[in-house]
Structures are given as structure tokens and as C-alpha cells.
């Protein structure tokens, strides 16, 4: 085994095409999943899971968008009668819950699930069956929420579900219990994905990919995964534990008459809720660096500053939550600390934007669709960031809190800072996932409609909010004068819908018969572009060796690789945490039905808890065989880690 950092590439050693083809065929046999519907259900391939995760999360974007279109149509005119208050309340709650819990976080973790192993040069993700379990749990949450909405049991107290309105007295029935359990499912799925990404990033990198060579996409996912680990348990405690308990078994967490506190909910929720928006935002920043680098054809300026900004943002994000509570009777001194923190967090984000602008300046930008979306991000997000700094001020927030000004701000930052980079990422990585290019012209139409639609829809809301229009209102009187701007906003919403239709048309057309993409159509620098499009189940025929931050740009002709991993079983390489020296081999699990089974049992347990404690016992009891079978599968196949002696025959290949 080599003892130095840099793997040595013996001169003149190369793998012939026949060697590579033979290796590929052997790997294909070992790594390909079962076929058909059963194969799809039992798949543990992180790319297969990642793809369906992305598709499901995008379907949630569409569902949430349809709900938004309904809301905007209702608010188009004063005293409109399209939706009554009860339906409207369910719709805006489901819109928020869908977008925040079922679309925004899952799609970011889905992109991580698909791409992080490829970008770090691994054959697979760290815990493939847990990954599948996370997806199926999320899917149970999706189905549960929408079946409930259609059955008139959709939650109706807002995505933030403030008590006492969502408490046992004022929210009769099980609508809020549905919300609490949807949060449970999505939070379990997010935690599973986060743990997977952390372990993959730390322990399964390509040899030579020390932490200071980690791609910025992976840094963002890593930082966000830690944020998920610290933030999600707060909302789980709040909703799954405290709120569900208050409602089902009559505890008094939030009952002031018995010593509880209604403000406690707000603290627990927003302690999660503020990091949540950075959990959505930071991965999007991770998309931007590779796109800017590729299309400016320049290495990004300020790698270290970008990494440190990500980490700093993540830390600060946990110290901002009270800015959602400035209108509550919290003492002035306490509130002012959060003002300072909320303004401070603009600095690392600003630095990231300055670094990208510097990169563009030093490069020769090529305005393909992904870069257009990055420019759209800057245009939109900076606006939202500035209104965010305004809202950080307690005095001003006391006018703007809970009005349409905040609706404008949050959509500018989430759409500008999250969805625009996401669309850019779709256009950029679609060729890698599907092997086909998206149409460039349709992409440009998509981009312009989206940019215009977002600004027309949300800009007037700033004015509406300061003119007195509060949030979460199903209608308003015509004497308020809010009608005209609401109409403009609704038109913008329809333009956004049109742009998404254009995107869907583009995706469907391209998926079926788009231009074939090679393995690196953009001539980009990450390791994911070193394999075919779409990647084979085993990702790389030979595990690549990394010698710089931009592997595909810095190697002369051929990418150095490492040979020696077995191709008669599913074997992955585990490396050390900081310097990525090969450490040992590990056998990956075969496809398995137990993740799906356990997700269904979890579903039964948590959904059952709404109705009866016996169902909880049934669900837990049913999980037991699943857990045993899962462990049995591991015991049977795993023959213990082999300290690496072999895989050090380093060679060159294409």
C-alpha cells in the first residue's frame, strides 16, 4: 500500500481497451439490479433512487404550483368566490407544506443522493438500503398529504401550524395530525439522506481527493447535511412529539392554563424553520459554482472563501430564528441580538456572489441556459436578500411581518436562490442523468418566461404588504384598494405556470428523442463527467484518482485511476477522512425489498398513531421482521472489511 499523499502514476502503464471492456462487463453483471417492477421496488442503486426522488420532488413542485395558481386566482379580485375560507386555508397550508417539506428540501437531498457519489468518485452511496428507505418514507408522506387533501382532511392551520390554532381545542378533527405526521416522514427521509451524504463524503472519496479538493457542490451538500442533522430533530420534537401528543393524548405542552406556553411552539418550530431555508438555499449555491466554472471556462475564484462562507452561513443560520417572532412579547434586548445575526448572515452570502462575479469577469462567458439561470439567480436573489436585511430590523419588521411583503421576500429568496439555480442544475446535469441534451431554444424561452413571471408575480407584493395586506387571507374588501396589484400578481403567476409548462415540454421531448449527450458535453471538470451518460450502475469502471480540484481539467490527456477492486461482488473503496488514502474495502448490499417494507411499517405506525395506540403497536411489531431480515441480509453477505493491500496498481486510462 502506498504511504504518500499523491498516488504515483507509473509512467507508461496503461489499461488497454479490452481490459476496460472486460472489467465493465464483469461489473455490469454484479451491479445491475433486478428487472421489471420488482426490480424497481427493490433497487438500492443511488442513481435509481436519486432519479425517482428528483421526479417525485418535482411532481410536488407542480402540485404546489397548482395550489398556488388556485390561491392566486382566488385573490385576483376582491371578494372573489372561487374558494371559501375553509378550502383556501387547506390549500395555502398544503402549498406551504408541499413546497417546504415535500419539494424544496427533498429535491436538494435528491440531487445530493444522485451526484455526491459520482462527484467524489465512489461506486455507490454509503448506505444504499437506508437511502431507499428514506425515499419510500418520503413517498408515504407525499401520498398521505395529498390523499388527505382530497378527502377534505388536509391541514388548514398553515405550514407553520401555530398553537393554539393548531392545538386540540381550535383545530378539531385530524387535519393537523396529518400535517404533524407528514413532517415526521419528511424529516426522517431528510435525516437518512443527510447521514448518507456525510458518510459518503467523508469515507468514500476517490483516492487523493483530500478535503481541500472537494468540489463545491459536495461541500454544500456536506454542510447542509450537518444542518439537517441539527435542525430536523427540533421540528420532530415539536410536531411529532409535542403537538401530536397535545392533540392525541392530552398533554399540556402549549396550554398556558396548565403551565404550558404557546410561544414555546414558535421557538421550537423556528429553531428548525430558519435553518430549513438555508438547507434549501445552500445546495443551490453548490450548483452554481460548477455551472459558473464551466460556462465562464475559468476555475472559480476564491475556493477557500466559498467553502468558509458555506460553513459560516450554516453556523449563523442557527442563530436567527427569533426574527420570525419580532411581533411577539420577547424583550427588546433579545430581539436586537437576532437583528444583528440576521444582518450578519448577508456577508458570507454576499462574498459568494462577489466570488462568482469575479470568476465571470476573469473568464469568457458562454451564455448557455444554465448560466442564464445563474444570472437570473443573481438578479432575483439579491433583491430578496436586500428585503431580508430590511426585515432583519425589528422596527421595520413590525410593519412588514405577516404581510405580503414577507411573501414577496420569501419567494424572491426561495425562487431566486433555490429554484433558479435548480433549473440551471437541471439543464446542466440532465444530459448526465438521461444521456440526452435539453433543447437550448426551449430552455431560453423557459428562462425568460420564468424570470419575467417571478418578478411580475412577486414584486407588487412588496407594495401590497406595506399597504396593509396581511398574509393568509382568503379574500379582501374592494375598499382596501388592493385589487389592481393582486391582479398583476396573478398574471405573473400564470406566466410562471407557462414557463414550467415549457420546461415540461422540453423535458419530455428531450427524454424521448433529444440530442444524444456524450460523457462530457459541457467540457466540465468534475468527476461525474468522467463516466458515461447515463452512468452505469457501478458508476466508474475503475475508481478515479484525484490530483487537483478540477480533475478533468488538470490531467494532461488521461485520468489516473486505481484498479484492484473486485468485480465478482459489489465492492466499494473506503478511504480516510481528511486525505482520502485508501483504507479498506467494503461490500455493498444487493437489492432488497426490506427498505420499502419498513417504510410502509413506519407509515402504519405514524399514521396509525393518529387513530389508535394499538395501530402503533401493530406497526412496530410488523417492522420487527423487516429489521431482522435487513440485518440478516447484511450478516449473510458481509465478510468483514479487508484492509487494503491490493488496490494500488495505478494506471492510466481514458
Amino acid at each position: 500500500m502506498q504511504n504518500h499523499h499523491e498516488p504515483v502514476v507509473p509512467a507508461g502503464t496503461a489499461l488497454s481497451d479490452e481490459d476496460v471492456a472486460r472489467e465493465a462487463a464483469a461489473l455490469e453483471e454484479v451491479w445491475h439490479g433486478r428487472s421489471g417492477f420488482w426490480g424497481w421496488l427493490t433497487s438500492v442503486d443511488h442513481k435509481s433512487i436519486g432519479k425517482r426522488y428528483i421526479v417525485t420532488a418535482f411532481a410536488m413542485f407542480l402540485a404546489g404550483g397548482i395550489l398556488a395558481a388556485m390561491m392566486r386566482t382566488q385573490l385576483m379580485r376582491p371578494e372573489n368566490t372561487l374558494l371559501g375560507p375553509d378550502r383556501y386555508n387547506q390549500i395555502f397550508t398544503t402549498h406551504g407544506t408541499t413546497m417546504m417539506f415535500l419539494f424544496a428540501v427533498p429535491i436538494m437531498t435528491a440531487m445530493g443522493t444522485y451526484f455526491v457519489p459520482l462527484m467524489v468518485g465512489a461506486r455507490s452511496i454509503a448506505f444504499p438500503r437506508a437511502n431507499a428507505f428514506g425515499y419510500w418514507t418520503y413517498f408515504v408522506g407525499v401520498v398521505f398529504l395529498y390523499v388527505s387533501l382530497i378527502a377534505n382532511t388536509g391541514p388548514d392551520t398553515g405550514w407553520f401550524a401555530y398553537v393554539p390554532l393548531s392545538g386540540p381545542q381550535y383545530a378539531p378533527g385530524h387535519r393537523v395530525d396529518v400535517w404533524a405526521q407528514v413532517v415526521t416522514f419528511t424529516e426522517i427521509a431528510a435525516l437518512v439522506a443527510a447521514v448518507n451524504i456525510i458518510v459518503t463524503t467523508f469515507k468514500m472519496r476517490s483516492p487523493g481527493m483530500s478535503l481541500n479538493r472537494l468540489p463545491l457542490f459536495v461541500w454544500a451538500q456536506l454542510v447542509v447535511s450537518f444542518m439537517i442533522v441539527f435542525a430536523m430533530p427540533a421540528v420532530a420534537t415539536g410536531s411529532t412529539l409535542m403537538l401530536a401528543e397535545d392533540r392525541a393524548v392530552n398533554t399540556h405542552w402549549f396550554n398556558p392554563a396548565e403551565g404550558g406556553d404557546a410561544l414555546l411552539w414558535q421557538h421550537v418550530f423556528w429553531f428548525f424553520g430558519h435553518p430549513e431555508v438555508y438547507i434549501i438555499f445552500l445546495p443551490a449555491l453548490g450548483f452554481i459554482t460548477p455551472i459558473v466554472e464551466t460556462f465562464a471556462r475559468r476555475k472559480v475564484f476564491g475556493y477557500t472563501a466559498l467553502v468558509m462562507s458555506n460553513i459560516t452561513t450554516a453556523f449563523f443560520a442557527f442563530g436567527l430564528w427569533v426574527h420570525h417572532m419580532f411581533a411577539t412579547p420577547i424583550p427588546e434586548l433579545g430581539q436586537s441580538l437576532f437583528t444583528a445575526a440576521s444582518m450578519l448572515i448577508a456577508i458570507p452570502t454576499g462574498i459568494q456572489i462577489f466570488c462568482w462575479l469575479a470568476t465571470l469577469w476573469a473568464g469568457r462567458p458562454e451564455f448557455r441556459v444554465p448560466l442564464l439561470f445563474v444570472l437570473g439567480f443573481i438578479f432575483t436573489f439579491v433583491n430578496g436578500g436586500i428585503t431580508g436585511v430590511m426585515l432583519a430590523s425589528v422596527a421595520f419588521d413590525k410593519q412588514a411581518h405577516d404581510t405580503f411583503f414577507v411573501v414577496a421576500h420569501l419567494h424572491y429568496v426561495l425562487i431566486g436562490g433555490g429554484v433558479m439555480p435548480l433549473f440551471g442544475a437541471f439543464y446542466f446535469w440532465f444530459p448526465k442523468i438521461t444521456g440526452r441534451m435539453l433543447d437550448e431554444t426551449l430552455g431560453k424561452v423557459n428562462f425568460w418566461l420564468f424570470l419575467i413571471g417571478v418578478n411580475v408575480a412577486f414584486f407588487p407584493m412588496h407594495v401590497l404588504g406595506l399597504e396593509g395586506m396581511p398574509r393568509r387571507v382568503y379574500t379582501y374588501l374592494s375598499s382596501t384598494g388592493w385589487g389592481p396589484l393582486n391582479l398583476v400578481s396573478t398574471i405573473g403567476a400564470y406566466v410562471i405556470a407557462l414557463s414550467v409548462v415549457v420546461f415540461l415540454v422540453n423535458v419530455i421531448k428531450s427524454w424521448i428523442g433529444g440530442e444524444a449527450a456524450g460523457h462530457n458535453p459541457w467540457n466540465s471538470s468534475g468527476l461525474e463527467w468522467a463516466t458515461s451518460s447515463p452512468p452505469p450502475p457501478y458508476n466508474f469502471v475503475h475508481v478515479p484518482v484525484t490530483t487537483s480540484r478540477h480533475p478533468l481539467w488538470d490531467t494532461d490527456v488521461h485520468l489516473p485511476v486505481m484498479t484492484g477492486l473486485r468485480s465478482d461482488r459489489r465492492e466499494v473503496l473506503i478511504t480516510t477522512t481528511f486525505d482520502a488514502r485508501p483504507d479498506h474495502r467494503h461490500e455493498d448490499p444487493e437489492p432488497s425489498i426490506w427498505p420499502l417494507y419498513l417504510a410502509l411499517c413506519m407509515g402504519l405506525t405514524f399514521i396509525g398513531s393518529i387513530f389508535s395506540p394499538y395501530l402503533v403497536l401493530v406497526g412496530l411489531g410488523a417492522s420487527l421482521p423487516g429489521l431482522l431480515a435487513w440485518a440478516w441480509q447484511s450478516l449473510n453477505s458481509h465478510r468483514g472489511p479487508d484492509r487494503v493491500a491490493a488496490p494500488d496498481v495505478l494506471a492510466e486510462t481514458t
Binding site: 417492477f37 375553509d86 378533527g173
Partner: protein, 188 residues
């Protein structure tokens, strides 16, 4: 289109159809209902037998038993109309207990409606000119939930006041029994 997507599409469609057909009665909130035309109906029939021509009666019998929203409105009315002044929070004091299985004048919805609307001996006031029929039916559903006669899913949970009794959703399902003479309530 790959088989898997078709399968998933079919499953989703089936689920959604089932859900919309089984739209949940427990959660229904029919808010903007027009009041019935004509003079108010205060007569709720206690038996299918009627002498003479058929008299129109309020047919909302039992309608709110499995509806959580209206049972909760009944809980609100119970506190606003000061029912606890005589009945406490269901344990009874000057008035009989409402959360036990003993019913002086019957536990069926139309019987409780009559008790509330007409009033009863020994101090139960008559509410029929004070509350609308819908409000009385909401109270009926709440009173029945206090003694465990309505489906558990629709019963209210604890209120945001001091906890003075077991909330209705934790009351075991009870089998009502008619205790007969008014004098029975005088026993300690």
C-alpha cells in the same frame, strides 16, 4: 414510457379516486349553509308515531355525531352558554352528570335535543328560543361525546383551559342506560 412509471401512475390514480369518493365526513365543514326557509322548526319528533297530519320536524338527528368541527363548536357553546354552571364539565352538580352512562330523559340525539330545546324539570332551562336548531344539534353532539357515545375520531380533545376532567376523546365508549325517575338524580 417505462413500465415502472405506468404502474406508479395507476396506483396513484386508484388512491386518489378512492380518497375523493370517501371524502371524510368527520372533517366536513359546511359553512355557508342557508337557513331553512319559512318559520323556525322547533319540534323534533321523539317517535315515528304521529296523530293527525304529518308535522314537519327538524331532521338533523344525529347528524353531527361523527363530525369533529360541529362537535367542537358544541364544546365552545357549552362553555359560552354556561352549561358548566349546573353540569360542571360533565361531572354534574346541581344538574345531572353528563359524562356518565345514566340518562334521565334518554341519550338518543333527538331526546337530548328535546331536553335542551324544551327544558326539563328541576331547573333545566328551555333553549329553543335562544339558540338555533343547528346550535342545539352541535350541543347534542358534544354532550353525547362527553359520555363516549360518538365515534372517537370526532370527539374533541382537551380544551385550552385547566384540565378538570378526562377529555372526551379519552372517555371509554359507554353503553347508555335510562335511569328512569327524576328522583334518581337526587341520590349522591
Amino acid at each position: 414510457m417505462p413500465t415502472t412509471y405506468r404502474h406508479r401512475g395507476a396506483i396513484s390514480l386508484a388512491l386518489f379516486t378512492a380518497a375523493s369518493l370517501a371524502a371524510c365526513e368527520r372533517e366536513a365543514r359546511r359553512l355557508n349553509q342557508q337557513p331553512p326557509p319559512g318559520p323556525p322548526v322547533t319540534f323534533v319528533s321523539q317517535s315515528p308515531l304521529q296523530p293527525g297530519p304529518t308535522v314537519v320536524t327538524d331532521t338533523a338527528e344525529g347528524e353531527f355525531d361523527d363530525n369533529a368541527y360541529n362537535t367542537s363548536e358544541g364544546q365552545t357553546l357549552y362553555s359560552q352558554m354556561n352549561c358548566s354552571g349546573c353540569h360542571s364539565n360533565g361531572g354534574g352538580n346541581m344538574g345531572p352528570a353528563l359524562m356518565d352512562d345514566e340518562w334521565l330523559y334518554g341519550s338518543k340525539p333527538n331526546q337530548i335535543f328535546a331536553s335542551i330545546a324544551e327544558g326539563r324539570a328541576n331547573g333545566m332551562p328551555s333553549w329553543k328560543y335562544r339558540l338555533t336548531n343547528k346550535q342545539i344539534w352541535q350541543l347534542v353532539a358534544y354532550v353525547r361525546s362527553l359520555s363516549g357515545l360518538t365515534p372517537k375520531g370526532a370527539r374533541p380533545a382537551r380544551s385550552d383551559h385547566m384540565m378538570v376532567s378526562s377529555p372526551p376523546n379519552q372517555t371509554p365508549n359507554a353503553k347508555p342506560r335510562n335511569s328512569g325517575l327524576p328522583g334518581a338524580s337526587q341520590r349522591p
